[in-house]
């Protein structure tokens, strides 16, 4: 590792053009002792917290699971090889992400590259994955551009849907509740002024309006806001039974606390990223019960339960109940695709990912136009689990609890 990197630095200085030429030589099968996986992930900077919850632990878990099982079978080569990892810190900067992928692809010549965390970073990395022909399994990017992107970059796979998926599912679920008379017609929305919040609010605003809801509050707040008292104070006086926040984790936690303090307890309390995090019940205390949010899991799935157990055992923390399982599932797909191809043939692996059906912890999965369409879109904390209420392909396994229980005041 150290030697390799020293060489790399020399080349950066423009000294080692020769070495680069040599590095392009193919790796022969008989030399192969492992399948080399590379990834650059945000270990520092703004994205580190998100990556540390959803992405890194799952990469570690998958590598551990595979290697414990003896590795991945490459039938064409007649070997079963363990995974070997090269990891970099992209320092939460798009420029670093791009360069790290260039490095993994051309310098380290890894066999496969796992993507970084976040929508922006995955979009930034798209052309580079594409240029070097590596499949990109973007499991933590939410974008309505996914169909166009998948068409533009043939090796890219978009696993987490777009803003419309989540917004429409939420509206649909709420329409049922309204029509049943459980909630009134008024909805208040606060969105973080960042990629995720805007994508969702852009989809949700017209969807709510078309469904006949009255939007009594629909505003954005800047990334980094720490005090939500003004928003909660204003919203609590507007008579909305439904409060929706397309928020980021710190905001999600602060909004919950503030709503409890202000005793603003709407019948539907829906928050964005972070509700599905394992620490949410710890922060909200008994009040986590009945809170809705993005994502969800199938509480009755044994595969998911087993996955949770393995994740806790290895990482010391539970996975989140939205993108973690998807991330892990995307890795299972990758593994199965490799085994079906029987060799590290990235073109063939990509083709298999596009067309094949895979057996994962979230069930049988088949991509549609390089996109995972089988997603939990709305979840709710019920009995200590963040259970899926709405799914893009199948009916929810649980019914929503509306109205949610009243807040228990803190002591």
């Amino acid at each position: 590792m150290t030697n390799l990197s020293r060489r790399t630095v020399m080349q950066g200085l423009g000294v080692g053009a020769m070495a680069t030429a040599l590095a392009g030589l193919p790796v022969f099968a008989q030399d192969r002792t492992a399948i080399r996986i590379g990834y650059a992930i945000s270990k520092t900077g703004a994205n580190a917290a998100g990556a540390g919850i959803t992405t890194t632990p799952n990469y570690l878990l998958w590598v551990d699971d595979v290697n414990k099982a003896g590795g991945i079978k490459l039938s064409k080569l007649g070997v079963t090889l363990p995974l070997e990892v090269t990891e970099y810190d992209d320092r939460s900067a798009a420029e670093e992400t791009v360069r790290a992928i260039e490095r993994l692809a051309t310098q380290d010549n890894v066999d496969l590259i796992l993507p970084t965390w976040g929508t922006g970073a995955n979009l930034a990395a798209g052309p580079t994955f594409d240029r070097f022909g590596y499949p990109q399994l973007a499991a933590t990017a939410v974008t309505d551009m996914a169909p166009q992107l998948a068409a533009r970059w043939k090796h890219s796979f978009w696993m987490l849907g777009g803003g419309h998926d989540y917004a429409n599912a939420l509206v649909e679920l709420l329409v049922k509740q309204r029509d049943a008379g459980t909630i009134n017609n008024k909805v208040a929305i606060a969105s973080v002024a960042d990629g995720f919040g805007i994508d969702l609010s852009k989809a949700a605003t017209p969807a709510f309006t078309e469904a006949g809801f009255e939007l009594v509050y629909d505003k954005t707040y800047p990334l980094g806001t720490s005090d939500f008292a003004p928003i909660i104070n204003e919203v609590s006086g507007l008579g909305a039974d439904t409060f929706v926040a397309f928020s980021y984790p710190p905001d999600t936690f602060a909004l919950t606390q503030q709503a409890v303090v202000a005793d603003f307890s709407p019948k539907v309390f829906y928050l964005g990223v972070g509700t599905a995090f394992p620490i949410y019940p710890g922060i909200a205390g008994p009040n986590h019960n009945g809170v809705m949010g993005v994502g969800g899991i199938d509480p009755d799935s044994e595969a998911v339960a087993a996955y949770f157990e393995r994740h806790i055992a290895l990482n010391g923390q539970a996975p989140d109940s939205w993108a973690s399982a998807i991330t892990y599932a995307s890795l299972e797909m990758l593994q199965q695709a490799i085994e079906r191809v029987g060799d590290i043939d990235r073109e063939a692996i990509s083709a298999e990912l596009s067309s094949g059906e895979f057996d994962t912890i979230i069930g049988k999965v088949k991509l549609v136009d390089n996109q995972l369409r089988s997603l939990w879109t709305v979840g709710q904390w019920q009995d200590g689990k963040f259970v899926g209420l709405a799914h893009t392909e199948r009916d929810g396994s649980r019914d929503p609890v509306v109205p949610k229980p009243d807040w228990v005041p803190a002591t």
Binding site: T8, Q11, T44, M145, P222
Partner: protein, 305 residues
């Protein structure tokens, strides 16, 4: 003679993309990007000693200009528009900061960058209803590399010219004592605004040229305040009052970051931090000053030998 050497070096560097692989080229792009920013930063901040943290404001504006206009205007005009926007903002910033000095200037420029970021965000969110924008320009890394190389050459040429020129002297006088400067007949406002604007336009162009490399532009990517800090550190490390100082600060630091993040992805922060502290203690006057003093010691030894 020196000019000829510089041109040969430039020509040689222009062939780098055909000689090296994508990753070394990516490194070169990164080095050029930071080298340009640090040199441009030192153009104004070196002689005046006004530490500006507004670098990324201009950088980001450049990138956004490309994101907004690349579909509607031909590319050269997009760059021109970026330069014009950088110039206008630089003049506004320059006029607003005329009375500020020291730490007040530093934090003002930081606040200003954040304000620009907030306003861009607000505009995008509430007017265009999107946050991220996509830049699909048909540029490979080598195109970006060549453009950056040209911009770096131009920046160094400007820096060279400024050092020889009256305006360079004016800025040094202002940096030492603005009161004396005005009493000697120096038009302080004009001198400061001129160089601040030149420096800002270069930064804007650096952002504009690199935008296509990321495909996706959003405020948190292009207005990342860390960039401003890194540029200051690089320039200070190399020596902001020397022509090649900022560049020679950028190169080792950039490579150091790269090496650490690759070899110690989990302890990157700690090692980097310790190295920074060591640098302050070991190289108190910057890399070039250290090189000079070593060279001086060697010549003295030779002379005595």
């Amino acid at each position: 003679m020196k000019l000829a050497a510089a041109l040969i070096a430039l020509l040689a560097l222009a062939f780098v993309p055909s000689l090296v692989g994508p990753y070394p080229l990516g490194l070169m792009i990164g080095i050029l990007g930071y080298g340009i920013l640090a040199t441009a930063w030192a153009l104004f901040s070196g002689p005046t000693r006004y530490i500006s943290l507004a670098t990324v404001a201009f950088f980001g504006l450049g990138a956004y200009t490309v994101a907004v206009l690349s579909e509607t205007l031909p590319y050269p005009l997009v760059l021109l528009a970026a330069a014009a926007i950088g110039l206008v903002v630089a003049l506004l910033v320059g006029l607003a900061t005329l009375r500020l000095a020291g730490i007040y200037f530093v934090i003002f420029t930081f606040g200003l960058t954040e304000l620009v970021r907030q306003l861009v965000t607000y505009y995008e969110v509430n007017v265009t209803r999107t946050l991220g924008r996509y830049v699909f320009l048909p540029f490979g890394p080598e195109h970006i590399y060549w453009q950056l190389l040209a911009l770096l050459a131009a920046t160094l040429a400007i820096a060279f010219w400024v050092r020889q020129s009256k305006i360079g002297l004016a800025l040094r006088v202002i940096g030492d004592d603005p009161v004396v400067a005005s009493h000697l007949g120096i038009r302080i406002t004009r001198a400061k605004l001129t160089l601040f604007s030149i420096s800002a336009v270069i930064m804007t162009l650096a952002g504009a040229i690199q935008a296509p490399r990321w495909t996706y532009i959003e405020p948190s990517i292009v207005f990342n305040p860390t960039t401003s800090f890194l540029v200051v550190i690089m320039a200070l490390l190399g020596g902001p009052n020397r022509l090649f100082g900022p560049l020679l600060g950028a190169i080792p630091l950039f490579l150091l970051f790269e090496w650490l993040s690759a070899n110690f992805p989990n302890h990157y922060s700690i090692i980097l931090g310790l190295l920074f502290i060591a640098i302050v203690f070991v190289l108190p006057n910057g890399v070039l000053a250290a090189v000079d003093s070593v060279r001086a010691r060697l010549t003295r030894k030779e002379a005595s030998a």
